[in-house]
């Protein structure tokens, strides 16, 4: 695998949209070619080379390409967006849409990311050592097809509206999470090692939430359905099981309704 290193040398005045910061878009290009590619600030079109130094060499295909980003990318959007393969390593913080619509490959962020990371993710891996903003792994506005596959790991805290309309895949959160987790979910799994506030699994028809910490307010539509001992995220514990959201329509299997499940560590 070949590595290209992109280091920020100048902060943009406004925010910079770098749709091409993916192995898919950069594979097979030389460093000086990459420096010529367009990035967008509002309506202006500028060059990657105006804001970043590019070194190293991409692989002939995206599969064999690793992009390493160094520096403060908090004014840069779309890193790894729509990537399907290859690898992205970000040493620093980034703004919105990291790994949004990604379908494969691996993104490692040694830092924190902004809102809308992994929007409608359909495959691959996203690891974040810091925190993530709101709408992590959520659907795009209006879409009933949220995150469907892949794995997201966040060591720190996560904002609100995580995993909205999730249908599959897994999100593991090391820290705390803000309101609205897995709202409208119809599948998938979210593991929370820290604490939650409220609105876990509201309007969910299927899917699983595992909570190790506390929750401030439970949804009224979750009903206790026994307890079980499980090993989750490498930790063994006894969990109380809740079935919900009872207010929502539920699919049935053999005449019995299937519920979303909330596992609260005892």
């Amino acid at each position: 695998m070949n590595t290209v290193t992109i280091t920020i040398k100048k902060q943009p005045d406004l925010f910079l949209e770098a749709d091409c910061f993916t192995p898919d878009a950069l594979a097979g290009k030389k460093a000086d070619e990459i420096a010529e590619l367009p990035v967008f600030i509002g309506k202006t079109v500028e060059k990657i080379g105006d804001y970043f130094t590019v070194s190293g060499e991409t692989g002939p295909t995206a599969d064999e390409t690793r992009l390493v980003f160094n520096g403060d990318f908090t004014k840069v959007k779309y890193i790894g967006a729509k990537m399907s393969t290859g690898e992205v390593v970000l040493n620093g913080d980034a703004d919105m849409y990291v790994g949004s619509w990604m379908s494969g490959g691996k993104i490692t962020v040694n830092g924190s990311v902004g809102h809308f990371a992994a929007t409608a993710m359909s495959g691959g891996e996203l690891n974040i050592t810091g925190n993530a903003g709101n709408y992590l792994g959520a659907a795009y506005r209006g879409d009933w097809r949220g995150m469907s596959k892949g794995k997201i790991t966040v060591a720190g805290n996560v904002g609100s509206d995580c995993a909205t309309f999730m249908t599959g895949g897994e999100i593991e959160i090391g820290g705390n999470v803000d309101v609205h987790v897995m709202t409208h979910a119809d599948g998938g799994k979210v593991i929370i090692h820290g604490n939650a506030k409220s609105r876990l699994g509201g309007q969910a028809t299927r899917g699983e939430i595992y909570l190790f910490g506390t929750v401030d307010v439970m949804m009224p539509g979750y009903v206790k359905a026994g307890e079980t001992e499980l090993t989750i995220g490498g930790t063994k514990a006894v969990f109380t099981i809740y079935d919900g959201d009872q207010g929502e329509r539920h699919p049935t299997r053999k005449g019995l309704p299937i519920y979303a499940k909330l596992y609260l560590k005892k």
Binding site: L14, T44, S198, Q203, M219, G247
Partner: protein, 439 residues
């Protein structure tokens, strides 16, 4: 001899009353009296007569004082700041006509602007909820003619939409509701015992910020599920009782306002209220209607919708339209420092936005098109006073239930004043000129 003009449309709130009568002087220049309107509406008409109205555009000088200029110069300045900005915000649009909005959109298309309306701090969350779950709704006449169960959730029409109750909801008599308020059961849900709550048959005092849970509990109860003893400060007995009242109705309607659109969870509260409405249709007939604020915020969403496909937060900066509230919403753009120029039309972010946003408006070149002096004009670099839509010029407006009504002109604007559509037309001309586009 004065004359009485009838069928006038009130350009204040989303109720968009169209039965106002205005007494004007013989020469048609002076509004003498306003009939049928509420106190706020009357004031809007009468205020147009105010002798201290600013009638010419003015530019802020370096020392902070204003200097009068011409509409032509103001249009040149506006065009220049919009063309120079990498990402100009073009905000407001809710207190003007669809014709003015449309002209503004053609400017935005060329200058790569972000078009956003006051829904962004009002019923934008309703629009997001609609995008997630839809909205079973109806026109206000359906409420008047059929509704026998009415819920006001997080809204206070007694103060915000004063004539709503008599024209459409509580007291109106219609085809199947001949006994007016006696035909109906009124439920008010609000953390505060408002004046509207005092009109209710049932007042539910919900715990602040727990509307989502209460709505969810109502849905669960509707499906016959068991509930905790208390949800959001309301006993489960009360919840089952409310569900029975609703199921027992022939036509249920839920009206909701800012109390739920901008408390914790925002769009999710509305989402759940819509879901409750949809569920009720399994038992009876039910609809839900947003109590839209500005008289033509609904119209702005409509015009943006048919021209660009999104109802607010429309980012045209890259030459095509994008939409994602949280990113392309005015306050996020301002507070994050994503925009470098601003045009405000027919609204007052200076009063309604957080201070951090207002500071940003102050720090970047901002043109404010508004008939009146407002907190926003105070932080703008250029103020363009215009004729008042619905009083001094007509134009298309959309009521809170999306019914389009053509507002009427009642009197002439002060001599030499332009309408906002005319001024925006001048700006568009200048933009075309700068961009070298043939008209």
């Amino acid at each position: 001899m004065s004359k009485r003009l009838t069928d006038i449309i009130c350009p204040f709130c989303g109720t968009l009353c169209d039965d106002i009568e205005v007494e004007v002087s013989d020469d048609g220049k002076q509004i003498l009296e306003v009939y049928n309107s509420c106190a706020i509406g009357s004031e809007k008409f009468l205020h147009a007569q105010s002798p201290d109205r600013i009638t010419r555009p003015r530019m802020k000088q370096e020392d902070g004082s204003w200097k009068e200029t011409t509409y032509e110069e103001a249009a040149k300045y506006t065009a220049k700041i919009l063309c120079d900005a990498k990402k100009p915000l073009m905000y407001g649009w809710s207190s003007t006509s669809c014709e003015a909005q449309s002209t503004g959109h053609m400017i935005a298309e060329q200058v790569g602007g972000v078009l956003d309306n006051t829904a962004t701090v009002c019923h934008g969350s309703t629009l997001i909820a609609m995008q997630d779950v839809g909205i079973p709704s109806c026109t206000l006449g359906e409420v008047k003619n059929r509704a026998d169960r009415i819920i006001f959730w997080g809204c206070n029409p007694a103060h915000a939409h004063p004539r709503h109750m008599s024209r459409y909801s509580i007291y109106s008599r219609g085809y199947f509701t001949g006994k007016g308020s006696k035909s109906r059961k009124i439920i008010v849900v609000d953390p505060r015992p408002t004046d509207s709550a005092s009109l209710a048959d049932e007042y539910i005092q919900v715990e602040q910020g727990r509307d989502y849970e209460l709505l969810s509990a109502l849905r669960a109860a509707l499906r016959g599920a068991q509930l905790p003893d208390k949800v959001s400060g309301v006993t489960k007995e009360k919840i089952y009782e409310i569900v029975d009242i609703l199921k027992g109705g022939r036509f249920v309607v839920i009206f909701f306002g800012m109390g739920v659109t901008h408390s914790l969870g925002k769009n999710h509260n509305i989402d759940m209220a819509i879901a409750l409405t949809a569920d009720l249709n399994n038992y009876t007939k039910a609809s839900i209607i947003a109590m839209r604020g500005h008289y033509n915020v609904t119209g702005s969403g409509q015009v943006l919708g048919w021209q660009f496909g999104f109802p607010f937060c429309v980012d045209l900066s890259r030459g095509f339209a994008r939409y994602n509230p949280g990113e392309t919403s005015s306050n996020d753009l301002l507070m994050r420092g994503e925009v470098d120029g601003c045009l405000v039309v027919g609204s007052d972010p200076g009063s309604h936005f957080p201070i951090a946003s207002v500071k940003k408006i102050h720090d970047i070149p901002t043109v404010c098109i508004d008939p009146h002096t407002t907190p926003t004009t105070a932080v703008s670099t250029c103020h363009v006073p215009v004729a008042i839509v619905g009083i001094e010029v007509g134009g298309s407006c959309y009521r809170m239930d999306n019914v389009p009504i053509e507002s009427r002109k009642v009197v002439d604007p002060p001599a030499g004043m332009l309408t906002d559509a005319e001024f925006l037309g001048l700006v568009l001309k200048e933009v075309n000129h700068i961009k070298g586009v043939a008209e």
